[in-house]
Assembly symmetry: C2
Homo-oligomer: 257 residues x 2
């Protein structure tokens, strides 16, 4: 157990650098901030490479250190520095980035694809909602917010441990779904598209949500089985993308109901 | 048309102070930031007390000044200062706070009540979603985020001009709904509550969403017609409150479908 008091310490600098996509890729790790995420990682059988905590928090949970590769006692100032949280809980963990490019052996279950969704909070909230709606996986296109960035991780609230969270080329993924006869539903802010309430898919299907401002890529829209819209009152122009995704996911995946 | 260049100018100080609830109440006004909101206010027939714009933006829309009580040309620095936006569009308007304490003569339509919802983005997103779902009104309890604060106004995207947005004592509002025989649905993170998919209200009803961490007040839960829950996969613990509200509002108010 090492005690660190300076933000200039090399470990602290590296943890801070985990906020950047570049360093996450380079180190193959990302940071979990707070008790909920650390516990979710352990429940899911993840190895904790480095456990970082304030003296109080570590003392309150002595058993946790046995499950970590290394433990570091840090000041509250360091905790704030590495987590970018105003009032951090005083516990964090560095874990391995999962392999987000593996492809499932068999296409089955409900899947959500995200096409260039920019806001980290939206990406994280949609992953969390997909988890709650019983979805099997989420595939995020490469020009979306990075799925292991701090804000996405905070919004996911541990849902990355409950479903398959992948990055990939949506064109290929759509083709794979269609090859096995699974419907692929795009979404469009267009009353001429298909009313979402009229669709009753089986247990294997895919739903695609698009960019906050521009919606889905035209080329992807042309590739789908059908494109859905949510009827709205005339004066309202759109819904938040994460709210739309929630409405659609709970409508399409009714096995839970 | 007055030209202002200093953030120390008294007008600029007052506009900045409109970010606080205290000064909004005192002046009876709030600030709309950006073209979309200014246009929505005008479309809804609102009087613009003060129009604030950069030289470029005002020059591009000369007709707008005729509709404003007074017009001020300001620098981009002032615009950033008063809007707290990183890249403001260069147009803003001061309008009257509507009377948020009036009570409708007759209770009719779908209504959303917010019980101590803290996050301004959540409050604003729920008002926007209620609008899109064809709701008649939203009543916000007094310990929620202030409905005319800058972040709520940004998230509402002008929906305050399309529905009735009120503040009030939810206990009294629930009693009024029950008096006319309209169902009042609470929400609860409790699988023993009523599955939301089994409820088919008529055109007049009320839905209540609670605080992000604690949910709805126990006393309000005891007052409702029924309390609803959204079935979730075991490992997921909850949904974001604005996502839940979207799922419930579009399920309960299907006249739009």
């Amino acid at each position: 157990m090492e005690e660190l008091t300076s933000v200039h310490n090399q470990h602290v600098k590296n943890w801070k650098k985990l906020q950047t996509k570049k360093y996450r890729k380079q180190s193959g790790e990302y940071l979990l901030d707070g008790w909920h995420l650390v516990n979710e990682a352990l429940k899911a059988g993840n190895q904790i490479n480095q456990l970082i905590g304030t003296e109080d928090q570590l003392a309150a949970h002595p058993d946790l250190q046995e499950q970590a590769g290394a433990t570091y006692v840090v000041t509250e100032e360091i905790m704030k520095h590495i987590t970018d949280t105003v009032t951090p809980q005083g516990i964090a963990a560095v874990v391995d980035l999962p392999d987000a490019h593996r492809v499932p052996e068999k296409i089955t279950g409900a899947w959500l694809f995200l096409d260039r969704v920019q806001d980290p909070g939206n990406v994280g909230t949609m992953v969390r909602t997909a988890d709650a709606a019983g979805f099997t996986g989420v595939v995020v296109s490469n020009r979306s917010a990075d799925i292991f960035g701090p804000k996405v991780v905070r919004s996911m609230q541990g849902s990355q441990f409950h479903l398959q969270l992948l990055e990939g080329d949506l064109k290929k993924w759509i083709a794979d779904f269609k090859k096995v006869g699974a419907p692929v539903y795009g979404t469009q802010l267009n009353p001429a598209a298909k009313n979402f309430r009229t669709v009753k898919p089986g247990s294997t299907f895919d739903l695609i949500m698009g960019n906050e401002g521009q919606g889905m890529d035209q080329r992807l829209l042309a590739q789908t089985t059908a494109n859905l819209y949510i009827p709205m009152r005339g004066e309202a122009e759109s819904l938040n993308v994460a709210v739309s995704a929630g409405i659609l996911m709970f409508q399409l995946n009714q096995q839970l109901g």
